[in-house]
Symmetry: C2
Subunit: 287 residues, 2 copies
C-alpha cells in the first residue's frame, strides 16, 4: 500500500450532493461507510470491502451526539480527523463527509426515526435513546449520500440488526452489508473506545472475547442449554473483579430474543464495564 | 381531453422499482402524487401540475390504515380504484402504485418516522397518532418511488408543513410542491369525505369556507386582532346548530403557532364535524 493523496473532505450536505450527482448520473455503484472517526482496522476493513465492491466509496466521520446518553462519553470520544484522513488515503476513498453538529441538527430540528421491538433489548435497555439516535442519523446519512450499499461492522451486531429492520420497514433503497469483527491477536475486538483502557484494563478486557470463545467451544462440543453456557461464561467474569458485567445472552440472530436451547445459529452477546469504559462484543455460533 | 388508455397499475414495491429504474437511469425527472384514492379535481390538479413539470408521473393510491384513529372512518373510507384509474387516464400517468396493506406493513413491521412540535397542534391534537401514520407512510413512499418532486394539496395544510419538516430534518432528496385548494363553485373545499354528506349537510358544511372568507375580508379591511376575527368566525358557526366546531385558529404559516396580531402572512385553519363527518379547511391570507 503506497501512501497517496488525502481524500477530499466536505462539510455540508449540499457539497456531498454536488460531488456525487455526476457519479450517480453515470450509473456508478456508490458504497458508503458511516463512522464516528477514530478509525481503526475494523473501520478500514469496511472501507476495503466497499472499495472492492463499489465504483465509488464515501466515508462519513461524525460523532453523533444524539446516540450518546447524558452521562456517556460524547465529550471525550476520540476525535482525530487528520489521522483518519491519513488512514483512508491508501483506499482511494472518493469523498469524506465530516459535518459539524449544526449541519446535521440545525435549529428547529424535530424528527426522529424510531424502531421498536429489537431496540428495546440489550444495548437499548442499557443505553436508553441510543438506537433512536443511531436510526435517525443513519436515515439522514442514507438520504444525503444515497448509496447503493452501506457497510457496518459485526462488532456492533445489534446496531446492524436495527439498521436492517429500519431499511426493510422504510423501504430504504440501500443494501446493508455486515463485515466480520476485526480482533487483536489476543482476541480483543477493535473499538475506538479501547483507547481509554490502561495496560492493566486492556488485559482485563480480554474477558469479553474469552467468554465468547468459551460459549462457542461449549456449543461446538454439544452443549445446548444456554443456562449452562451462560453460567460458565459468568465464572470467567467472576475472576475479573475490576470488570463489571452488564449483560450476557445467547440470542436468535434476527429477533435478538434469548434462546433456551441452541437449535440453530445463535449470536452470543456481551457488554461490560472495564473501569469507566463500556465495551461490547459478540460472536455468531452455528451448532 | 380525449379518453385514453388506463395507466399501468402495480401492487408491489419491487414492481415500482423495476418500472422506474430505466426512467431514472435516463435522467428523467420523476414526479409523485401520493393519494388515498377516491380521486377528485383536487387530486387531479396535483396530477396535472406533476405531468406539466416532470418527465414521469407516478401516483400512489393507498388508504393508509396507520393514519386513521381507532374510531375514525378507515373502514368506510371510499375506495374506487376503477373510477380512479379512469380519472387518471387523460393525464398520461406513467405508473399507479396501489399496494395492499400487507405490502406496506408486512408482519414484523416496527418502524416509525416521528415529527414532534408542529404535529402536536390542531389536527395532531384532534387526531392522536395521525401524523405519525402520515410521516411514516410518506417516508416509505418516497423511498419506494424516489421522486425528484412530490405534490401535496394546500387543503391539508398542516400535513404539508409536517411533510416539509420531515424532508428538511431527514435530508430527504425530494422537492415538496404544495398546490392550491380546489373548491366547488360555492366555496366548499373538495374532499373525498364530502361523499359522506347528505344534501342538507352539504349545505351546512359551507360554514367552514365562509368563515375563512370572513376572516380574509376582516384582515383585508384592516382588522389585526385575531381574537376579534375568531369571535366573528365563531358567530357563523353558532348559526349552524348541526355543525360541531373542532377548532378555529389564525396561525403563523411555518410554525402553525397562533398569532395574536396579524403582522404578516397567516393561515386561518378550521375543522368541524358535520354530522358524523369531520371536515377541515384553511386559507392563507396576507394583510
Amino acid at each position: 500500500m503506497a501512501s497517496s493523496d488525502l481524500p477530499p473532505v466536505v462539510r455540508t450536505v449540499q457539497e456531498v450532493r454536488r460531488h456525487l450527482e455526476p457519479l450517480r448520473a453515470e450509473g456508478e455503484r456508490i458504497g458508503f461507510v458511516p463512522t464516528m472517526g477514530a478509525l481503526h482496522q475494523g473501520h478500514l476493513s469496511l472501507v476495503e470491502a466497499c472499495a472492492r465492491e463499489c465504483d465509488a466509496t464515501v466515508v462519513s466521520i461524525f460523532v453523533n451526539p444524539t446516540q450518546f446518553g447524558p452521562h456517556e462519553d460524547y465529550d471525550k470520544y476520540p476525535r482525530s480527523l487528520e489521522k483518519d484522513l491519513e488512514a483512508l488515503a491508501p483506499w482511494g476513498v472518493d469523498l469524506v463527509f465530516a459535518p459539524a453538529v449544526e449541519e446535521m441538527y440545525p435549529p428547529g430540528f424535530q424528527t426522529q426515526v424510531l424502531v421498536s421491538g429489537v431496540t428495546e433489548l440489550w444495548e437499548g435497555r442499557s443505553r436508553p435513546g441510543h438506537f433512536a439516535g443511531v436510526t435517525t442519523v443513519v436515515a439522514k446519512l442514507f438520504h444525503i449520500v444515497q448509496p447503493h450499499v452501506a457497510y457496518f461492522g459485526h462488532k456492533d451486531y445489534q446496531q446492524s440488526v436495527v439498521v436492517r429492520q429500519m431499511v426493510r420497514d422504510l423501504n430504504l433503497p440501500v443494501e446493508i452489508r455486515v463485515c466480520p469483527t476485526v480482533r487483536e491477536e489476543d482476541g480483543l475486538a477493535l473499538s475506538s473506545r479501547n483507547a481509554y483502557l490502561s495496560p492493566e484494563q486492556r488485559q482485563q478486557a480480554l474477558v469479553l472475547s474469552r467468554s465468547l470463545r468459551l460459549a462457542e467451544q461449549m456449543i461446538q462440543q454439544g452443549q445446548r442449554r444456554t443456562e449452562t453456557i451462560l453460567a460458565e461464561m459468568k465464572k470467567l467474569y467472576d475472576q475479573q473483579p475490576d470488570v463489571r458485567l452488564d449483560y450476557l445472552a445467547v440470542v436468535e440472530p434476527d429477533s435478538l430474543l434469548p434462546v433456551e436451547e441452541v437449535a440453530g445459529p445463535v449470536v452470543v452477546l456481551t457488554a461490560a464495564w472495564v473501569g469507566q469504559t463500556r465495551l461490547i462484543d459478540n460472536l455468531r455460533v452455528e451448532p
